[in-house]
Each structure stands twice: as C-alpha cells, then as structure tokens.
Symmetry: C2
Subunit: 331 residues, 2 copies
C-alpha cells in the first residue's frame, strides 16, 4: 500500500502502533498530541538535531530503509555521546514522497526502533509531510546521568593536552566507496566496511566514561578527523599537531585501500568515534577504564590559533589535500 492510500493520519496511527508504549516511567504524553511531555529533573539537559536528505546524505540505491532508520538515529545519538550524555527522547520528522510504500516506512522505523531500544530512547513524537524527496530529521533530548556531572564541549582544550581517539578510523569512508563503486574484497572485508558506513554505532558508553574520568573536551568524528579536530581548535582557540603514523586505521582498510587508507582515516568522516583531549594521566585513566582502543595521536599546542598541523614520525610536515566534508562549498 502506498502512503497516498493510507493518508497522513493513518500513517501517524500506524507509526504510533509500530513504536508502541515506552517503558520510560517519566513520560506523560508520547506520539499523537501537540507535543510530547515528560517529568523534568535537575540534570543538565541536552538537545541536538540532524537531518539526512535523499540525494545529499544518502541514496536508496545504496542504503536500505531499515539501515537508513538506524543511521538517522545513530548520527544523532553520536552527538549526545560527544557531550558525554545519555539519550532519552527522540522526535522523528519525516518528509516522504506520496509514492512511498507503507512497508518502506515500517522498515525505516524498524531500524530506528532497533537502535533506540539499545539505549532505552523513547520515540515520543515528530511530524510527517508529503515531499518530493525523503528527508529524515531526528531530534534527540538527552541529559547527564545526575545533576552534578559536567558535559563535554568543543571549547575546553588546553595547550599541552594529548589528542586521543576511540576505536579505529577510515572504515566508514572505505565502506561508502565500496558501496558506490561496487568494489569487491573478501566477503568478510566487504561486509565489515559496508556495515561501518551503513550502521555506525554511537559511542554513548565511551562518552559517559570520558566524563567520569575527567575529560572536558570531545567531539564525534562525523566530518572527518582533521575537520572535527579543527572545530575543537577554533572553539578552544588553540592549535593541534597530529602524528599521522599514530592514527589508528582499521586493518581491513589498510589491507584493501593501501596508500589511500590514511586519507580515508584522516578525512573520510562518518566513523562516529570520539575525538578528545586531556592530560596524559587522564587519557591513561580512560584507556584503563574501557575495553575499546584509545590511541593518543598528537597534542594540543598554543601557537597558530585554530590550526591543525600534520607531521610524520620525524616531526616533518605532512601534506594532505582533502580535509573533510562541508555543505554548500564548490569543490
């Protein structure tokens, strides 16, 4: 059945049924009223929104509806992770062509719900519109664990701090290229790279841990390592120096993309790992507290405000042309 047969209000009823009732006992009103409502508390509140637009951020030739739902939620949860918060509530704003099949919308929600359940996020509202292109805009409301915690910002980096990153980089960009160019590696490698791009995993637990261990500055890697570190530098009015040989590249990317692996890790983006700064001791504490790899890749420096410098293992300048993703620019 197409949305044009079901109608907007039929769709809203169906989505409310698909989402079901939330186990969140603070929730007063979910989907189906003018606004969602829940009992507030004295913790720090967090809010973020991110949109995925057909033809700009995704192609339905490459991503399935279910994967799209997962990813649309994941990129938003990642922003809450980068603040060291816990996600609580989600609003889903959907624009869909009239010709969309109801089953496709259900699949989209299946992907959203699968990830939402893992973090006990309640889907509490949103809106639906007819439009020529598919757009999914998700708002996440989150909070700190308790009222005495701080949040991670982009603007607290200090000269002398180490720059560190969770996990491995490059897989999402390698996966995007694997999908768009229909590259074939070993079945395991191909599946691993595609999964990294299609179903990124938000580092909520790691963000929490950063807060607990005293980290003050973090960002999630969405635009690309260099570009996102540049955001920290500009917001903190410092610079940073990265030793490119230290950047943790996923072995599968190194094996299959050879010389291009470093570029994918530095500029590819969409890995949704956390990039953070802290004293050597704080970074060591983080490394000890988590099972996920934590790698020091450079340090914060005071000179040349707002710039990221790349060096090789001998400290010599390292050049790289492509530095990240930015909307609107002519490239």
């Amino acid at each position: 059945m197409k949305l044009s047969e079901l109608g907007e209000f039929g769709l809203i009823d169906l989505l409310a049924k698909t989402v079901g009732t939330s186990p969140n006992n603070q929730l007063l009103i979910g989907i189906g009223d003018d606004a969602a409502a829940w009992h507030g508390d004295a913790s720090i509140q967090l809010a973020t929104v991110d949109s995925l637009i057909q033809g700009v951020h995704f192609s339905l030739d490459i991503i399935s509806w279910e994967e799209l739902g997962w990813k649309a939620l994941a990129v938003n949860l990642s922003d809450i992770a980068a603040m060291g918060g816990l996600p609580r509530y989600a609003l889903v704003s959907l624009a869909l062509p009239d010709s969309t099949e109801v089953e496709e919308v259900i699949a989209l929600y299946k992907g959203i719900i699968e990830l939402a359940k893992q973090f006990e996020v309640a889907i509490v509202g949103g809106d639906t519109s007819s439009a020529p292109l598919v757009t999914i805009s998700i708002t996440i409301l989150g909070s700190t664990k308790s009222q005495d915690k701080h949040v991670l910002s982009r603007s607290a980096a200090k000269p002398g701090e180490k720059v560190a990153v969770t996990g491995y980089l490059g897989a999402a960009a390698a996966g995007a290229e694997t999908l768009s160019k229909q590259l074939q590696f070993s079945p395991e490698a191909t599946a691993c790279l595609k999964e990294a791009f299609l179903r990124p995993y938000p580092r909520i637990a790691e963000g929490q841990l950063l807060v607990e261990q005293g980290v003050k500055t973090a960002i999630d890697i969405s635009d690309g390592l260099i570009s996102d570190l540049d955001h920290i530098c500009k917001a903190s009015q410092v610079s940073a120096r990265i030793e490119v040989d230290r950047v943790p590249i996923l072995p599968t990317v190194k094996t299959n993309f050879g010389d291009r692996a470093l570029e994918l890790a530095l500029s590819g983006g969409e890995d949704y790992e956390l990039l953070f700064t802290g004293s050597a001791q704080v970074v060591d504490k983080v490394r000890t507290a988590t099972s996920r790899p934590v790698t020091v890749i450079g340090e914060v420096v005071a000179d040349k405000i707002g710039a990221v410098t790349l060096v090789d293992s001998k400290g010599n300048p390292f050049n790289l042309t492509k530095v990240g993703w930015e909307h609107f620019t002519l490239r």
Copy 2:
C-alpha cells in the same frame, strides 16, 4: 554572496553571530557544539517539531524569507501553546539550495528572532544542509510554568463539556487564497488577511490561561476546526456537535468571501487559535480572565465515538464537503 561561496561552517558562524548570546541564564551551551546544554528543572518538559517544505507548505513567490522564518517558528510555538506550556529553547534545522543568497538566510533568521524575542525563546542549535528544496524544521523545547501544573492534552474531553474557541476563524485560509489568486479588496482588508496567513501569532498566553482556569483538553487549529476537533474526539473517544451559526468568523472574511466564509472558518486551517473543551463554568472563567474573545461553538457528546456533527441553529444536520488538510491523500 551565495551560500556556495560562504560554505557550511561560514554559515554556522554567521548564524551564531546573528542569533547572539541568549539572556537565558539556565543555558550552558548554545549554537556551535555537538548539542545544546542547559540546567534542567522539575517542571513538566515539552517537545515538538514541525517542518515547512518549499512547494508543499509554502511558495517563495508568496511568502518572504522573513515571513517564512516567523511562520516556521510560530507554527511550532502554537503546539506548545496547545499544551498550555511556555516555549524555552529552539533548534533550527535548515536545508537550503547552494544558490541561496546569504542575505536571504539572514532575513529568514530575522523573522525567527523577532518572534523568538517576544517569548524569550533561546535559539540554541540546529543543523544546516545543502538540498534542492528549502526545508525549515524547528524543534521547540518548552515546559510548564512550575512543577505542580498539568498540561493540556487532546485526550481528556468529557461528554457534556462545551467546545470553545479563542479569537476568530477563517482569516488565514482567506489570506492564502487572497495571495495565491491575487485578489484585491480594500487595502486594510487585503493587508489583514495576508497578515493572518503569513504571520500567525501563537496563543501562548491563552494556553497558559486555560491551564490556570482548569481546562484539561485543547488543540491548536492548524488543519482546520473540524479536522482538529476530530483529533480531540478520536483521542478522547467521544463525539462533538458544532452549531455552525456560532462559529466566530472574522468580519473581514464574512464581508469579502460571502457564502464561502463559513467553509474557510470550518476547514481552512492555519488560524492557530486554540480549540478547547471544558464545563460551562470553566469556559466562563476563561472568558472572564482573557481580553481575547472566547466563543462556545458546541458540545462534547457521548454517541458515535470520534465523530464531529455539524448542525444549524434549529439543530438540523448541516453538510460540508471539505473538512481539512491531510498529507499524502489523493484528492
């Protein structure tokens, strides 16, 4: 200058400067980080999102960028009004073609900021994307005035209650027709109708007052009086009977649209007045407490669950074909 010359990060910097710092002393982090952050409290929290899409909800031949900014915020604030809440924070998600002029985006924000200031709403974040069509999606976070207040829902209407509405209806739909068909009335009438459509005013103060006077059920009139009353009936599992002669139509609409005025008032939508139910005494208390007109237009009845019946002054059935706006449906 076009957005393609300014770039995404240049635009974000410019928007942060345009919005300026918020006077809200609970705000910790505004535009420019991974998420906005503020100090929470124990009041009931409210969240709503609504998107306006070019070619679906608006045409730039009819609405200016500044009016579009105002309206995009107004329709969202209206949802908070319908809950009896106070709006606090806004996230603005923008999709814009590369060819958009920077001045157009600034004008859009001028409209948003002008209305935001009236209700002390802080614009704390959002996102920007390149896209073929203009889409503005605004999320509003609000709350009740203090922790012991209830919120207005769609689902609390009881048989025997009166159905009442604030203000006058029909002007927004008449304004839309005036603009799209380039109709000409007296200069005052033309301006009044256009204004009703282009710059709706959210009834935040009236929503607050409904809560204070003990009203439990309300909705804002966005889809149209009949359609929105239908939402209340279905959510409350009751029916409603409307005496069409009692529906308050704006005199300017009556004068200039003659026989069609009633249809515009009943089904036109976008008036963003509040439609509510309550006992005769509660409605009287509301009427006494506000300077805005409050009109009883019918009553809640127990029979035929979820249906709206129209009757004339003699109680005879009244027929009307067009009943409101719904996305995706084939008409």
